[in-house]
Symmetry: C2
Subunit: 458 residues, 2 copies
Amino acid sequence: MKRNLFLSLFLVNTIAVLAQNKDQQFFKEIYNSTLTNSKCYSWLDHLSNDVGARLSGSTGAQKAVEYTKKQMETLGFDKVYLQEVMVPHWVRGEKETAYIQDNKTKIKVPICALGGSIATPQNDLAAQVIEVHSFNELKSLGADKIKGKIVFYNRPMNNAEIDAFDAYSGAVDQRYAGAQEASNLGAVGTIVRSMNLKLDDYPHAGGQSYGDISKDKYIPTAAISTNGAELLSKTLKTNPNLKFYFKQSCQTLPDALSYNVVGEIKGTEHPENIMVVGGHLDSWDLADGSHDDGAGVVQSMEVMNVFKNLNYKPKNTLRVVLFMNEENGLRGGNKYEELAKANNEKHIFALESDEGGFTPRGFSLECDDANFDKISKWKPLFEPYLIHSFTKGHSGSDIGPLTSPEIVKVGLKPDSQRYFDYHHAANDKFEAINKRELELGAATMTALIYMIDQNDID
Amino acid sequence: MKRNLFLSLFLVNTIAVLAQNKDQQFFKEIYNSTLTNSKCYSWLDHLSNDVGARLSGSTGAQKAVEYTKKQMETLGFDKVYLQEVMVPHWVRGEKETAYIQDNKTKIKVPICALGGSIATPQNDLAAQVIEVHSFNELKSLGADKIKGKIVFYNRPMNNAEIDAFDAYSGAVDQRYAGAQEASNLGAVGTIVRSMNLKLDDYPHAGGQSYGDISKDKYIPTAAISTNGAELLSKTLKTNPNLKFYFKQSCQTLPDALSYNVVGEIKGTEHPENIMVVGGHLDSWDLADGSHDDGAGVVQSMEVMNVFKNLNYKPKNTLRVVLFMNEENGLRGGNKYEELAKANNEKHIFALESDEGGFTPRGFSLECDDANFDKISKWKPLFEPYLIHSFTKGHSGSDIGPLTSPEIVKVGLKPDSQRYFDYHHAANDKFEAINKRELELGAATMTALIYMIDQNDID
């Protein structure tokens, strides 16, 4: 009996070691294949340099749908299809202009309208400026001091944060809800310091919401470059009565028809279990959105390309989903979940890459403790590829709506330091992408999906 | 008795926890101070944009000595001084030219002379080309096939490596010893594919050595851009008889007087124990060397600035050493060790930053197992700052000569993926530096030195 026990233990250990060796070997093949034989960088070259900016409802967005669908059709999926989704259609119009009128001196500053903003009335707006650093400060000033003014939100992202996304989270309320809060106190417009840790001349676009205020109370809102914000703040100190002028002609058109792009390969053993990997196809309109989120799109496609090159057939169904409209509506993510629910689909796993094409550092996991512990145990497989960080936290916006009870949702965590140098700004271009960093991200995503596919997730 | 034992254990544990809390708190202060109140980025701005390239023996190198000495004098050291060192003085001369003569077509390609190379004879050289990928291949071809030819070394850095420095190590023999090996078989010149993982138009400089071949056998050697190498290789396939032409007018002048710059603050408890932190002040001549190694210089200076800002007085003596001539001679590192030995100094620790100003990932440690284990136990303090990697390996070239028996030598390990995009090339400029990444490196170095200073290293 004892001998049998020893034999059993020996066999269990042997099998575990063999499985680990097999995984180690496959990890090596995944990284090797991605670093020497990938397509993601040339796909991104096309998506960025030939297709270009892809704001929801734009021609660019439509071209991106067509291009990625065509490329996905070469990757050996069982089917590649589109999911119809109606998306907001906001257009910037003419390039914005803005200046500080400091007594007789006019100082031009770079601004850009925030997504969803209305135009300036009769195409221009000039008013005194009041600088604030928080909604509390705004409210304590009260309607008396705010009425008829332009509110200037100038709380910088906190440089002391280690993860740049924490610095973003701590400042983005000003951009998102600044206009509605200021309008409630009678402001005529808002200017928001760009979400950027650097001092430079790029205004950074981004979504904003008027919330539930009535339409007649909408006020125009724009982002100003960080250098512009510093200058405005400094000038206000010497001349609190300066006037700020800005002009923007953006507008919201009727919703437009657009698409999520989906590639699907049926699982060989558990076709009913669905694993999703994706990024979002839309971008802001000021640049080609190479980091946000061209990178995530081509990395997700690369997962399938690597499996194809290594002749790996997933046991569970794999879907590569390129979501539309993450930036200003999340309609694609919501539509995907709506259809998944209607079709009674069982999603076991979703992975999103939407934090830029930088060197991957790890994963942010949205799951229960048991799955977190299970996945964290795979660390030793990842560490040779310099993937060290397994934390609980937000996964991704587009996979946010997915609610299968057993689902594990994961966000790829690339190095965050440079992300907000480019985020939503005119310099988020292909030149800002390093091929190897992009590829390492794709390989890391592939490796995680392989592990999920090989191991039951409860 | 038992009660006393419990009490003792309780006290020991309490002291350990308090020490850990104190360290955690001080780490927070270090990172906070560096990310919000550092000088390294503006120092580097000056060193890169005002001083510029700093090849040993050049005016730039002399200006860098003067500038950094002056800045160091503001940081609260007990003394700042120069160590005289004679350095090689190689000059590039006129910008090199090169072209492929493919029948009647002349195709210009970008090259740069390698450091220490001689000029082309009578200022030009034209010969048939033989492409090889290793010294073995070269030798197997033999003198018959090599004599009178230009040897073209074209083995790329291996993209499949995860750490870009491993890819560099696997290819750099071609650059370093290519000329001597080819000359031994009668070649008239060598052209070496640039040490670059990217395909682009930058030739990458770097040191080379003629070894012990006699002076009359020296042949001119240059690096060609990776795109140029691809083109030359492709053209050779269709026309093996093409001629390659290159012209360079570099020369080696008599050795020049230069300096290491040293700032020293005496330890409050163990002044006899010396801790060194440094980088190298010289750079190649094609750009300002912001990553190699302007970053390491200003990060090392920042360590003292952070200690000053936090009013931290080290228990052991701390020296910030800016070494001269790492790139083409290592004379500064050797001189430092020579003087340390002559003065019977006891070095307990040395830390070098010479792998670029990118996001820090960890440390490479040259020490015995006991110290490696001890330092690795500090990981939990570093992980909140995304410092995960503690490995045994090479520390740094300049601290390489240090041989105190009890010394622990460490190299900062930043993310390596982009390093060879810039290394020794004309694009290693200030624009390639991200302020936060540079600062995080400096903070990480400061934190390690603090831990070394607080804990006895045997």
